[in-house]
């Protein structure tokens, strides 16, 4: 598949293509970031990779990255444009545990610029964990609507609601609940 086709698939949220892209580029990404930042911990690199895929998905969905705007290969963009920043954010969060002060000092300038990004991502992550712990009916209902993008008729049918309007009202209640928690 070409980069253009991958971008289109990400935009359309074609899950089979996204997972194939994820699997194909995982080892290459982990090796690149591991070498560049001298990180050996595979779990950290793995988290950075999953987070980078999330950022790529989000950037494409929001229209910030299109076929026309892509100046390098999509994999290079994922590694250098996104992955290295995500790694820097991770280092920023873990800076107390960084043994090499000199390495941290060299990164400080870059790290200052990404504080805002970290703050927003941390907020999204907190909400994500809350949704994940909400369970039924909110968690599956919200996922089917906002992630799977299914119609209300299909959602009502899948989750056993009497009709689309009942399911829609329940979704509204879940959103209000979350808004009350994070307002």
């Amino acid at each position: 598949m070409t980069d253009k086709e991958y971008i289109q698939a990400f935009r359309r949220n074609e899950q089979s293509v996204i997972t194939a892209f994820y699997t194909q580029n995982k080892e290459r990404f982990i090796t690149h970031i591991g070498r560049k930042f001298h990180i050996l911990d595979r779990d950290t690199l793995f988290d950075v990779y999953q987070d980078s895929i999330w950022r790529l998905w989000r950037i494409i969905q929001q229209g910030k990255l299109t076929e026309e705007k892509l100046t390098s290969s999509l994999v290079a963009y994922l590694q250098e444009g996104i992955g290295e920043n995500v790694m820097l954010e991770t280092l920023r969060k873990q800076k107390e545990s960084l043994a090499n002060d000199e390495q941290l000092r060299l990164l400080e300038d870059e790290l200052d610029d990404i504080d805002d990004v970290i703050a927003q991502e941390e907020r999204i992550e907190t909400i994500r964990q809350t949704i994940s712990n909400m369970g039924k009916p909110c968690s599956p209902l919200l996922k089917l609507f906002y992630w799977e993008k299914l119609s209300w008729e299909v959602i009502a049918n899948q989750l056993g609601y009497s009709n689309a309007d009942t399911a829609k009202t329940q979704k509204y209640k879940c959103i209000q609940k979350l808004k009350a928690l994070f307002r």
């Binding site: 899950q15 996204i18 997972t19 994820y22 699997t23 999953q50 895929i53 999330w54 998905w57 989000r58 969905q61 927003q120 907020r123 999204i124 992550e125 909400i127 994500r128 809350t130 949704i131 994940s132 968690s139 919200l142 996922k143 906002y146 992630w147 799977e148 009202t169 509204y172 959103i175 209000q176 979350l178 808004k179 994070f182 307002r183």
Partner: protein, 247 residues
């Protein structure tokens, strides 16, 4: 505007599904100077929060999808490792067993030739008019040859299948073994060597079918090996337990 309507409007705007009129409505709620600064700020904050909630749900969706993919990769890897650990230790001993079995057959054949056949041929030389003895010698030679040939066919099939399995061609290895098993005549436990070869071939076929994810066939073959109650019984039972319930 009711809260539920406002939430729906923000949803459509953020998901790119709003009409031109709805987009204008949102812009107005965000920046119309006729509205109080407090109201505009309240709407902006509500919209930002709703966007974060939507992003969090989508992040959860993507994360679950990637975790499922990771689980699939791990399961595939684990299947390979299970088969590799069970095949690897068997390949060498099996190989040795074949060489040992072939050597023993060769020794037995030589012994038969020296002790049984040669004296009889010698006797033949002296008793050239003994037609009955001629027939008897011929029968013994033919039997020995058939036995050796039969042994070679099975051993060759096992060797060939082993080589194919090591190169990853499980489909062809399975074909070779199936063919060899078809050519085998009815084997009973009394014929220890043939019994052992049949068991080896069934066991190898089971491994090949596991590698090809033909688990229904694998179960059938492994059950047959377990029922034969010989060398591979424990390993076959272990494999049966491991593939239990899998499709």
């Amino acid at each position: 505007m009711k809260t539920i309507e406002r939430t729906e409007l923000i949803d459509r705007y953020l998901l790119g599904e709003a009409t031109a009129e709805e987009k204008m409505q949102v812009e107005r709620l965000l920046s119309d100077p006729e509205l109080s600064l407090e109201d505009r700020d309240k709407f902006r904050k509500e919209m930002e929060l709703q966007q974060e909630i939507i992003l969090a749900i989508q992040k959860q969706g993507l994360k679950e999808m990637l975790q499922r993919e990771e689980a699939r990769i791990r399961a595939e890897k684990s299947d390979d490792e299970v088969t590799a650990t069970l095949v690897a230790p068997r390949i060498t001993p099996l190989y040795r067993r074949i060489i040992r079995a072939t050597s023993s057959t060769a020794i037995a054949a030589c012994f038969a030739y020296l002790v049984v056949i040669t004296p009889q041929v010698s006797r033949l030389a002296h008793v050239s008019n003994d037609a009955q003895l001629y027939a008897s010698v011929n029968t013994e030679m033919t039997d020995a040859y058939s036995q050796l040939k039969g042994c070679d066919d099975a051993s060759n099939a096992i060797l060939e299948a082993n080589a194919l399995m090591q190169s990853g061609d499980y489909k062809q290895a399975d074909r070779v073994l199936t063919q060899a098993l078809k050519q085998m005549q009815i084997v009973t436990p009394d014929n220890a060597q043939a019994w052992s070869e049949k068991e080896d071939m069934l066991y190898l076929r089971a491994l090949c079918t596991i590698k090809q994810h033909r688990l229904y066939r694998s179960r059938h073959l492994l059950n047959e090996v377990v029922n034969m109650n010989s060398t591979h019984k424990d390993e076959a039972q272990q494999l049966l337990n491991q593939i239990k319930g899998r499709k």
